[in-house]
Amino acid sequence: MSEQGVWTMDVNKEVLKLRGLAVPLTLLAVWWIMTNNEWVSAVFLPPPETVAATCVKLFLKGKIFVDLNESITKVAIGFLAGITAGFVLGTAMGLSSTIEKLFGPLFNAVRQVPILGWIPVLILIFGLTELTKIIFIAMGAFYPMTLNTFDGCRQLKKEYLEVARVFEFNRLRLLWRFILPSALPSILAGIRVSMSEAWMLVIGAEIFFKARGGIGDMMWEAKTRVQMDIVLITILIIGVIGFILNHAMKILENRLLRWRSSN
């Protein structure tokens, strides 16, 4: 009879894995009931089946892939630029207290300005160009990456520094073997936060900087034409892609930080 007990436990585990779907499914049901009974106007909230049909149509038409490609390319460039700069500044401030004293106060003052607050400045300097959007995204990725890398580089315990001294490690090997690996959990967390920041900002960039093309532009256009179904689809796509990016980073983190677990 113990076998059955084990079997029951397995089922429970499988069920537990799916419990994250319970709330979304309930919401979907509520949505369906509300729209099909015409409790709300279809202009404000089209029924789920209409949204699904529009979604299929959009993907068949194929323009959405062009838009997605547009947005993802921008994010990729801005994100890479932002985390590279953040990594360099974070590591430099983490390693050298002189650099930290020189740049730290300025960095901490500047990062108090919300990213959105830079929009007028960016438009006045760079105009409504692709570069403006990429800089905007890069700034969003830059701050969390810098902070996390800086924190991470300060993680190394004094005890390990003594080990490095005992083995006569030079600075480069100290950085490579000791400081960066001990900073890696922080750095990866920084990359993950920067990535979702960059992905969120691309929508803002496309709306505020009057893009032609891109998923944010598609959303804004649909709003102008009062096409709630397309607005909802873009929201869904943005959410799903963000979720996938975050999840992919988590998997990468688990792989790279295997040494932390003790199983």
Binding site: E159, Y160, E162, V163, R165, V166, F167, E168, F169, R173, R177, F178, P181, S182, L184, R258, W259, R260, S261, S262, N263
Partner: protein, 261 residues
Amino acid sequence: MNQRGTLDIVNLNKTFNVNGDTTPILENINLKVRQGEFVSIIGPSGCGKTTLLRLVIGLENSYEGEILLDGKRIKGPGLDRGVVFQDHRLLPWLTVERNVGLGLEGKRNGKGMNKQIVQEHLKLVGLQGFEKVYPAQLSGGMAQRAAIARALVNQPELLLLDEPLGALDALTRMYMQLELEKIWQREADVTMIMITHDVEEAVYLSDKVVIMSSRPGTIKKIIPVELPRPRDRASYDFMKLKEEILEEFQLHAENVFSYAI
């Protein structure tokens, strides 16, 4: 040059400056350690024994007097001295194999050669088969074995052990003492200096036991241990020596032997 691994400490004084006050930590320390000798330094907490070891390691720099390794003054850490800390201090992000090979990385031995040296040392401490394991997956005793292997990989003249077994449970500890003696016998050229709190451990392993007293730290007595190896913890001579050392700390029970016999 053929006197590799000889340590001479002559008239050593060490002070710490705390808030402008100069506190003597070590006073007039004189100690000679021959090549291949196993020496234990034992003393109450705060007697400066760890500071003494850190001076020999080279992690503490300013001192008066002389600390000479093969006649040369010690100025900083070096690969001629291997160190085992109380906490194993293996790098958690490297496998056992790479941790043990840490000291070989800068050397141009060639990859195959380095791998072979690492293998030999893993065998020496009984950790074959654990090459790809991360430190978090090791038990305390195994981690400390890896730390010993790591310290020996560069073939140091001097192995400095700072309470290496202090964090282990009593049984693992006795087992590791056995292992440590085996390692010391196989690496016959290596001089070993160990800090310990444990009188029995000191008597079991050492050729001589250095007893320190505190405030300021001075050497109170050096007791040679001439018992044949491997030593029998339950033998009369062993117990007698143990008692003699405990007496230095005024810790022995009166007439314990007359009751026992």
